[in-house]
Every structure is written in structure tokens, then in C-alpha cells.
């Protein structure tokens, strides 16, 4: 299996090249945000406020890590189920978000937004939180510290192993894979 190395911020040229089912190793800054943080993002936008980071060309990781033990930069940090963020994702994609990392299927509305605004959705292996923590070089809480595991963190990652689940052309790995092995 050929593995492509990519980095954040995600550039348009790279996004257009990514193909569904492809394994990639991602490096650079990414931002954690899950249920409660997304709800706060929406409240902030509704009230005319500023989000904790600029979405343009950035990548959000749907992840609420376990606490970092002494001497470690982060605890276990695998993905959470992405569909719970489906209600919020199209808005963020329209603001320039180019990549999402999580696990599980996305709604048609999210897939349509990815196609329209040229964004991608990556899968990290769910339940491999110990292994994924090895890709994290540093972590820093940048917003909503009071929300504990749901705070927004900036992570510096190196060679984070991911699969392209939805590319910018509307293809879906879950549909391909399941139909191939259905008996």
C-alpha cells in the first residue's frame, strides 16, 4: 500500500489529489473539538463572536483525549464518532475548514458540503488511542479549558496514520469496502 505524507494547513492542490481508501501520514498542527466545543462554536457565530482559531485550510480532529500522565504530552487520543458533529460541520466547512478526522459515516449534507467547498474526511482507527498518542509531539489547550476532555486543543502531530474516507469528489470508503465483502 502506497502511503502519502501530507501536512497542514491543507493546500488545495493536495486535497484534489487525495483519493478515497488511500493511507496518509499527516503532520503539522490540528485542532481537537467534539460535541460541546462544536455547540460553543455555533453559539459564538450566532452571537457574532470570533472562533478560537481561524478555520481556513485547517483540520479538526474529533477527539477528547484522556488526561496526560506526568512526562507525557497527551493521554490516549483516538477519534470519536463523527456523525454527532454532522449538524455543525457544513457551517465550519463553509468558513474554510478543509479536513476532519474521526470515525464513522458522515451525512449526505456533510458530504455535499465537502464536495462544494473541496474538503476531505479522514478516518483514524477507533480504539487505537494509545497508538495514536505516539504521533502527538505537543499539545496545548487553546479554548474552553473548563470543559475538560471537550476543551479545544492544538496538537502538533507527526506522521499520524489516517485513511481517506471521503475525498473531495464525493466518494465514500464505507460504501466501497462494505459492498466488496458483503456475502
Amino acid at each position: 500500500m502506497e502511503i502519502r505524507r501530507i501536512k497542514t494547513p491543507l493546500e488545495a492542490g493536495v486535497i484534489e489529489e487525495l483519493k478515497v481508501g488511500e493511507k496518509v501520514l499527516l503532520s503539522g498542527s490540528i485542532y481537537t473539538a467534539r460535541d460541546a466545543a462544536h455547540k460553543r462554536f455555533m453559539d459564538t457565530l450566532r452571537d457574532g463572536g470570533t472562533l478560537p482559531f481561524d478555520m481556513v485550510n485547517q483540520v479538526i480532529y474529533y477527539c477528547g483525549p484522556s488526561p496526560a500522565p506526568p512526562g507525557k504530552v497527551i493521554g490516549a487520543c483516538g477519534p470519536t464518532t463523527s456523525s454527532r458533529m454532522d449538524a455543525y460541520a457544513p457551517k465550519l466547512i463553509s468558513l474554510g475548514l478543509k479536513g476532519m478526522i474521526g470515525k464513522g459515516k458522515r451525512s449526505q449534507t456533510v458530504k455535499d458540503a465537502m464536495k462544494q467547498y473541496r474538503a476531505v474526511y479522514f478516518g483514524a482507527t477507533g480504539g487505537a488511542g494509545a497508538l495514536l498518542s505516539k504521533s502527538v509531539l505537543s499539545s496545548e489547550i487553546i479554548a474552553y479549558e473548563e470543559m475538560g476532555p471537550e476543551a479545544v486543543m492544538r496538537l502538533e502531530v507527526r506522521d499520524m496514520p489516517l485513511f481517506v474516507i471521503n475525498d473531495a469528489n464525493g466518494n465514500d470508503l464505507y460504501d466501497f469496502g462494505m459492498s466488496e465483502y458483503k456475502r
Binding site: S66, S133, G148, F163, G177
Partner: protein, 279 residues
């Protein structure tokens, strides 16, 4: 009457939740190893290898297996010849959970249903206590993640739907979950009783060792049949497509009302964390 101090129960809870979240049991590891050969998809095989590597990293470098260290599901069987002294049993359980999740650097995932405010210490535990014969206290912990728990359901089937209706319901739930509950999954099915006992049976079904068949031959055959049907769904490891969608299926059954056929499906992720201790 044998006396057991609540502090011993509290200490056991603290230890068990940490142990469960860092050390995947040999039973689960063996089943994962064995499933590599059964998986036909190369991507699926790679995912299972990643899960085994993850378990090794968790154990060797002391990082939780998964960041979702679960709600603190706790089963306690109290022998009827035991007198619990020194305080309240449920307070001791919550204190054990509080200490284990804090000292073990485990994620606190309990929150208010509507405001979503975190309770801050992963309490209250989900405690199921039962009085049994004997003078021992058996504690089993099953830290259970939200991603897999979200794909369970209790359904009151019409009796005429029978066994076929039950099988269709189980497959419907597995397909509905697809990649979300982190396959390869483990499926617990509770049949009969009433609304709440069917749900409890489905959870107890998840506590059976992987690979062990029901002592009732008809139920054992049903487990094999369901496992086979689930693995033909094509969902595969992580839902990326493949032939190992479930590692095992366990069924528990009891009589029900003449008007009812309750069936509960409880789905567990591959990170099947379970530990027990007898005091």
C-alpha cells in the same frame, strides 16, 4: 456472618478500573490474533494488527487503550452471608471510581443529560448489585465507551415475530451501527424477561469470555448463526470492509410474559475491557 469493610471494596474498584483500561485481557488478545487469519481484506488485517499493537503500547507504556475510558459499569455479587461494614456500599463504589479515574489518568465522561456539564469525577458509577449464596463479594468492572453503547436498543417485539424477528433485529442494529461502534464488535443479546431485564441480560451477555459458547445447545447454535450472519454483512474492521465484523456474539434468555417478546441488543467495541476480583 463474614464482615467486609467498604474500604476493601473501594480499593478493589480503584484498582480494577485502572487495570481494565490499561491491560487488555489475554482472552481478547487471543481472539484478535486469531481473527487476522479469518479476515480477507488486507486493510482489515492491517486494522486488526494496529489494534494488537495498540494494546501492547497501552500495556508497555502505560497509556489507556482508548481515550474513552467509559462510564464505570460495575457488577457486584454480594454473598448473603456477608455483612458490609464501615459505610454505604454505593458510596464506596463511587469513591473507588473517583480515585481510580483520577489517579489512573482516565477520562471522565459522565455528564448532565441536557446541560452536558461534566460531573468531573466519572461518578455516579452504573452499579448493579445482586445478592447471591455464599460469603464472598465478587466485583466485575466493564468500563463501557459511548460510541458502542449508542448503538444498543431494547425492542418489545410482537411474539409472532419469534426467533426470525429477533435475528432480523440484531442484524438491523449491527448494520445501523456500521463503522461507528468500532468494529470488530462484540454483540450481547438479551431475550425475554421484561423491558429492563432484557437490557440487563444483554449487558451480562457481554461479560461472557470470548469464544465460550452458551451451555444451552440451542442458544449456542443461535450464537454461531448470528455471528456468521453478522460477519457476512461486509462491514469489517473499522467498517472499511471485510469479513470480521464481530469477534463474538453471546445470547442470554429467560421466560417472558405471554403477551411479550422483549429483545435487547448491546454492542461492545473491540476494546473490550473487563476485569474481576473476588473478596
Amino acid at each position: 456472618m463474614r464482615e467486609v469493610h467498604v474500604d476493601r471494596i473501594m480499593g478493589a474498584l480503584e484498582e480494577l478500573f485502572v487495570d481494565a483500561n490499561y491491560n487488555l485481557s489475554q482472552n481478547v488478545l487471543d481472539i484478535l490474533e486469531g481473527s487476522i487469519e479469518k479476515e480477507e481484506s488486507p486493510v482489515g488485517k492491517e486494522v486488526i494488527r494496529e489494534l494488537i499493537r495498540n494494546a501492547n503500547v497501552a500495556r508497555d507504556e502505560h497509556i489507556p487503550i482508548c481515550q474513552d475510558t467509559g462510564l464505570a459499569v460495575t457488577f457486584i455479587e454480594v454473598g448473603q452471608d456477608v455483612h458490609i461494614v464501615g459505610g454505604s456500599l454505593s458510596d464506596a463504589v463511587d469513591e473507588g471510581v473517583r480515585r481510580g479515574y483520577e489517579k489512573g489518568y482516565l477520562r471522565k465522561s459522565a455528564c448532565h443529560p441536557f446541560s452536558r456539564k461534566n460531573t468531573g469525577d466519572n461518578t455516579p458509577a452504573i452499579l448493579h448489585a445482586k445478592i447471591v449464596p455464599g460469603d464472598k463479594v465478587k466485583i466485575t468492572v466493564l468500563p463501557k465507551g459511548g460510541g458502542s453503547e449508542n448503538y444498543g436498543e431494547v425492542r418489545m417485539l410482537v411474539p409472532s415475530q419469534g426467533k426470525e424477528g429477533m435475528k432480523a433485529f440484531v442484524l438491523e442494529m449491527v448494520t445501523k451501527g456500521g463503522p461507528n461502534p468500532c468494529p470488530p464488535i462484540i454483540v450481547g443479546v438479551g431475550i425475554g424477561g421484561n423491558l429492563e431485564t432484557s437490557a440487563l441480560l444483554s449487558k451480562e451477555a457481554l461479560m461472557e469470555p470470548l469464544g465460550k459458547r452458551n451451555p444451552d445447545q440451542a442458544l449456542a447454535a443461535l450464537e454461531v448463526e448470528l455471528l456468521d450472519a453478522i460477519n457476512k454483512s461486509g462491514i469489517g474492521p473499522q467498517g472499511y470492509g471485510g469479513t470480521v465484523t464481530a469477534l463474538d456474539v453471546h445470547v442470554k434468555m429467560m421466560p417472558c410474559h405471554i403477551a411479550s417478546l422483549p429483545v435487547a441488543v448491546n454492542i461492545q467495541c473491540h476494546a473490550h475491557r473487563i476485569k474481576e476480583m473476588i473478596i
